[in-house]
Structure formats: structure tokens, C-alpha cells
């Protein structure tokens, strides 16, 4: 029981980090970035390349992965999202195509086979019969720190409040002198950085392979849908619902069924309460 609790907490923290980058872009720019999973893919592989192939310090690996994610986020906004001028379906399709392109780029550079990341911090702690790698503990703690920092940033800084304003009403924000384009750029950059860093942690949880972007994308989608748009707290709560649901399913029912309840949750919530559990009134 304690084991489930600990594993659930660790996994949920990571899921919250994965989802928050996705929810930011969704609530500020009103677009679903289906290439979000590709940040995780690229972050994971960048860390692998810098920290394991080149042998740079691990912290530098995470940092470089984050910077790469940030750059890709900015390029994506400039070249794909902005030219499509808010046509939501077109952006979804274009980003889906982009995700597949990036996946094949990764296969081209690193090959098709899966790779195993060395733990960020080696060692295992035993609690109540459960083995908890320090790596996972570090990932969860780091996720919480990043999330709190982000929450502080959005709530208190000028830029963060401008982001909130754009997410509530882009026209109203523009009238109040907020440069929506600049805010969108910043949001895409943050989202890319968070995604890439989450990718390093996610890859050390599971493994590194070219198709690894699909699962986190679905988790992010699930968390955002069930939590509702524009709610960081909602994202946090629902990340824990999804995380615990998965851990409990694999502990008490069957490991193969771990994703099934997440899917049922998405479908059920969307059909019954399209706004999500904590979201604002909107389509």
C-alpha cells in the first residue's frame, strides 16, 4: 500500500511536469500542439547525446536539452503556428505532421533501436519493501520545483500576468497594451523547455526510443482535458488522478491495463463535461 502511494506520487509529479508545458500553450495560444511529444523525444535524445555520448556533466546535459527544446519551440511558433493564423485544425494537423518528421529525423541520427539512459543519480533507496531509484526521486522533486517556479512566474511577474490575460481574452489583452505575439513566443519557448526537460526524466523512467513521444502526448492530453484549460492547479490535481490510476491499475488489476482507465477517463469526461473538471466556461 505504501509502495503504491510512493510510486503514485513519484509518477504523478512527472506527469504534472509533462502536462504543464502542453497546457500552457493550449490555454495561451488556444492551439493543441500535437508535436508536444516531440519535445520529450528530442530532450531525451539530446541528453543522451550530450551526457552519455560526449560525456559532458549530467547537469549540462539537462541544460542543453532544455535550450534545444526552447529553440525548437520558438522555431515551431515562427514557422508553423504563426503563418497558419490561429486556424486550430490546420495547426493540429501541421504539428502532427511535424511530430512524425521529427521522429524520422531522430531515427536517421540515432537509429531505430531503443537506448537506455544511465540514471541521473545512481543508487536505490528501499522504503517498505519498494525499491525507489534516486533518479526517480530526483525527477519527482525537480518536477515539483519547476512547477512551483512556474506557478510563481505566472501569478506574480508582469510577463506571467500578461500570459494570463492573453489566455483569458486575447483582444482585451491587446487593448490593454499586451503584445500577444511576444507573449505567445515566450509561452512556446517555456513550453519547449519544459517538454525537453520532462523528456530527460521520462526517458530515464522508461527508455529512449523513437516512438516514445506518443505516450506522453496522450498523458498530457488526458491531463489537460480532464483538468480543463487554463488551470495549473487543475493540471496538478489531474496529473495525480491519472498517475495514481495507472499505478493502482498495474498494482491491483493488471499491468497491461494501465493505460485503459486513462483513456476511459478522457472519453468519459469529454463527453459528460466538455469543459473539464476545473476549466473555465468555453468550447
Amino acid at each position: 500500500m505504501l509502495q503504491v502511494l510512493i510510486q503514485g506520487l513519484l509518477l504523478s509529479g512527472l506527469y504534472a511536469l509533462i502536462a504543464v508545458g502542453f497546457t500552457l500553450v493550449f490555454s495561451v495560444g488556444r492551439v493543441l500542439n500535437l508535436a508536444y511529444g516531440a519535445y520529450l523525444l528530442i530532450g531525451g535524445y539530446a541528453y543522451f547525446y550530450f551526457a552519455q555520448s560526449l560525456g559532458l556533466p549530467k547537469f549540462a546535459g539537462v541544460l542543453l536539452a532544455g535550450i534545444l527544446g526552447c529553440v525548437i519551440g520558438l522555431v515551431k511558433y515562427r514557422l508553423i503556428v504563426k503563418p497558419l493564423k490561429g486556424d486550430q485544425v490546420a495547426i493540429e494537423i501541421a504539428t502532427l505532421i511535424l511530430a512524425v518528421v521529427l521522429q524520422s529525423a531522430v531515427i536517421l541520427v540515432f537509429g531505430d533501436s531503443s537506448k537506455i539512459l544511465l540514471p541521473i543519480i545512481p543508487g536505490v533507496e528501499r522504503v517498505a519493501g519498494a525499491a525507489i531509484p534516486y533518479s526517480n526521486l530526483f525527477a519527482a522533486v525537480a518536477s515539483w520545483v519547476i512547477l512551483l517556479a512556474l506557478w510563481w512566474f505566472v501569478k506574480t511577474t508582469h510577463t506571467g500576468r500578461a500570459m494570463q490575460a492573453v489566455s483569458m481574452d486575447a483582444k482585451g489583452a491587446a487593448i490593454s497594451g499586451v503584445d500577444a505575439d511576444r507573449i505567445n513566443m515566450i509561452t512556446w519557448a517555456i513550453s519547449g523547455t519544459l517538454g525537453a526537460v520532462a523528456g530527460v526524466f521520462f526517458a530515464s523512467y522508461t527508455q529512449l526510443y523513437p516512438g516514445m513521444w506518443v505516450a506522453p502526448l496522450i498523458i498530457a492530453v488526458a491531463v489537460v482535458i480532464v483538468g480543463g484549460i487554463g488551470s495549473i492547479i487543475g493540471t496538478l490535481i489531474v496529473a495525480h488522478i491519472v498517475g495514481f490510476l495507472e499505478v493502482m491499475t498495474s498494482a491491483f488489476i493488471a499491468p497491461e491495463l494501465r493505460g485503459v482507465f486513462t483513456m476511459i477517463l478522457i472519453i468519459g469526461i469529454l463527453v459528460l463535461r466538455p469543459k473539464g473538471l476545473f476549466g473555465r466556461e468555453e468550447i
Partner: protein, 314 residues
């Protein structure tokens, strides 16, 4: 209905041209065309649901998979002859179409797209876990009865199927019903305001799409002779279907066919030059650039070229 004699003449010329191909092109090309035909069927099916009504589905393999798995299980596990199992599979898929319709009654846009994506993932995970003795679990099934032998027969069968589906869909879309469906894609409230039952129209679109998807999926399985969950319920498969419909031109009938052939042959002709993973990079890159350049697709670009030539001649 806006039907003209030359419409039928064009269709007849298209069909005649297709059926003459085995006399002209080598076997290997025929096999490529077979895959293009099936992709065209799936793209037409996607377009019937998403291209017309604007309810973008990211989970079309959900429907294709229902058709494919139904006939595979019936023929493999219960020794049902193919002539019975395929119609049953199509019926099952139409029931599946009703399941997809349920969320569409309440939500639209991005949210609908996500529900369909979730449906596909759910199906993928359930197929492997529930009754693996029936579905073959993660590995899927092989050794299913095949409908035809050899490239030429397979070509005739898939082409006949593709042409009849395309022609029927085209006729259906030429009726007032088709107009109403496209109108839903433009402004659903206006359609409801004109006194039409939007729910009934959506019901028709979704079951028609499911019919095509089920038929295509079932025949495809009996062409391949095998089925595997990862190849079917895959986001790359969704990508191929959607891109085929969009690159060709969504909301038309000939567009998805054009897109399917363009993409299949692009991938095939890149093979000698780029044998490895680069191929998919180029393929995706071409798709992305084409889509960003003209979201209305190749059919629109061709129409533009024709208009420009006519202007020059006049």
C-alpha cells in the same frame, strides 16, 4: 443535382485507364498501386466524416480496426467463410461509427479530435489484453484466408473496390445530402437554423464513413492475410490517412485518391535514392511544406493551373 454527362464520361475514362494499367506497367508498380488503392479508400472514408462535416477524427484506425478484426476473428477462429464475414465486419464497423458519433453530439473541434485519438489508443490497448486467444494479443494474427492470388488479381480487386467506393461517395455527395454535410462543416448552427436535423445528418455521415472504413479494412486484411495491432492502431497510420486526404484536397472525392497515389508513389520512388530512414523524413517534409503552402491540396493547385492556362489561351 448538377450532374452532367461529362462527369460520367470522366469517371468511365478514369476507370478504363485504371483497368488498362496491368497491360502497361510492371508487376512491382501494380503492387504499389494496390497499396495506394487501399490508402485511397481509407482517405475517402476519413474525408466523408472529417473533410465534409469538419469533425476532424484522429482515430480513424478505430473504425478500420473494427472491420479488420471482426472479419479476421470470424474467419480464423470460427471458420466463417469470407463472403459472410466481410458483410458482418462492415455492419460491426457501422455500429462503431455510432460510438464515434456519440461524442460528436456534444463536442466539436479539437476536443472531438482528441476523443477519437483516445478511442484509438483504448482500442489498441484492449485488443492486446481482452481475450488474446481470439485477437492474437500483441502479435496479432496471420494465415488469414486471402481473396486473391498474385499482383494482377489483387490489382483488379482493389481497383474495382476503390472505384466503386469513390463513385458511390461522389454520387452521394452530389445529392442534397452531400451539400448539407458540407454546410455542417461551414456553419453547423446555420444548418440547424434552416430546419435540418443536424444529428440525423451527422448520423448519415458517420455511418457512411464507417461503412467505407469497415469495407476497406476487412478487404485489406484479406489481401494481406495478417493483422497486427501496432501496425493498425498507430499514429503514423492516422498520419498517412489524414495527410493523403489533405494533400489531395479535403472535401472532394477525387482529392483523397490523388493524395493517396501521390504519397504512395513518392515513398516508392524515393526508395532507390534513399533506402533508409531518410525517406520518411523527406516524405514528411514534403507533406508539411505542401500542406503549409496550400491547405486546400493538390486538386486546388491543379485547378488553379488549369484556370491560368485558360486565361492565357483566351
Amino acid at each position: 443535382m448538377g450532374l452532367r454527362w461529362y462527369h460520367f464520361a470522366l469517371w468511365a475514362a478514369f476507370a478504363a485507364g485504371m483497368f488498362l494499367l496491368p497491360e502497361i506497367v510492371p508487376r512491382g508498380t501494380l503492387r504499389t498501386i494496390i497499396f495506394a488503392n487501399f490508402l485511397a479508400i481509407f482517405a475517402i472514408s476519413w474525408d466523408t466524416l472529417s473533410g465534409r462535416t469538419g469533425y476532424v477524427s484522429f482515430g480513424h484506425p478505430f473504425l478500420i480496426g473494427i472491420g479488420a478484426y471482426t472479419t479476421a476473428i470470424l474467419t480464423k477462429r470460427f471458420d466463417v467463410p469470407v463472403e459472410i464475414s466481410i458483410p458482418l465486419a462492415v455492419l460491426m464497423t457501422m455500429v462503431g461509427g455510432l460510438i464515434v458519433l456519440l461524442p460528436a453530439l456534444r463536442i466539436k473541434g479539437s476536443y472531438f479530435a482528441l476523443v477519437t485519438l483516445a478511442m484509438m489508443e483504448l482500442m489498441y490497448q484492449l485488443v492486446q489484453v481482452i481475450r488474446p486467444d481470439l485477437t492474437g494479443g500483441t502479435r496479432g494474427m496471420s494465415g488469414l484466408p486471402t481473396l486473391t492470388r498474385g499482383a494482377v488479381n489483387g490489382f483488379y480487386m482493389s481497383t474495382a473496390l476503390m472505384l466503386s467506393i469513390a463513385f458511390t461517395t461522389w454520387l452521394l455527395m452530389k445529392t442534397r445530402l452531400g451539400t448539407a454535410l458540407s454546410a455542417i462543416g461551414m456553419n453547423e448552427e446555420a444548418v440547424a437554423g434552416s430546419g435540418l436535423s443536424v444529428t440525423r445528418l451527422k448520423l448519415v455521415a458517420f455511418t457512411a464513413s464507417a461503412f467505407t472504413a469497415g469495407l476497406g479494412g476487412a478487404v485489406y486484411v484479406h489481401y494481406l492475410g495478417s493483422i497486427a495491432p501496432r501496425a493498425l492502431f498507430d499514429i503514423n497510420f492516422v498520419f498517412t490517412i489524414i495527410v493523403a486526404a489533405l494533400i489531395g484536397g479535403a472535401g472532394t472525392t477525387i482529392g483523397p485518391i490523388l493524395g493517396a497515389f501521390f504519397l504512395t508513389f513518392l515513398l516508392e520512388y524515393l526508395r532507390p535514392w534513399l533506402p533508409g530512414a531518410e525517406r520518411y523524413l523527406i516524405y514528411g517534409g514534403v507533406a508539411l511544406v505542401l500542406y503549409m503552402y496550400q491547405p486546400k491540396g493538390l486538386i486546388y493547385l491543379m485547378g488553379q493551373a488549369v484556370r491560368r492556362v485558360r486565361k492565357g489561351a483566351a
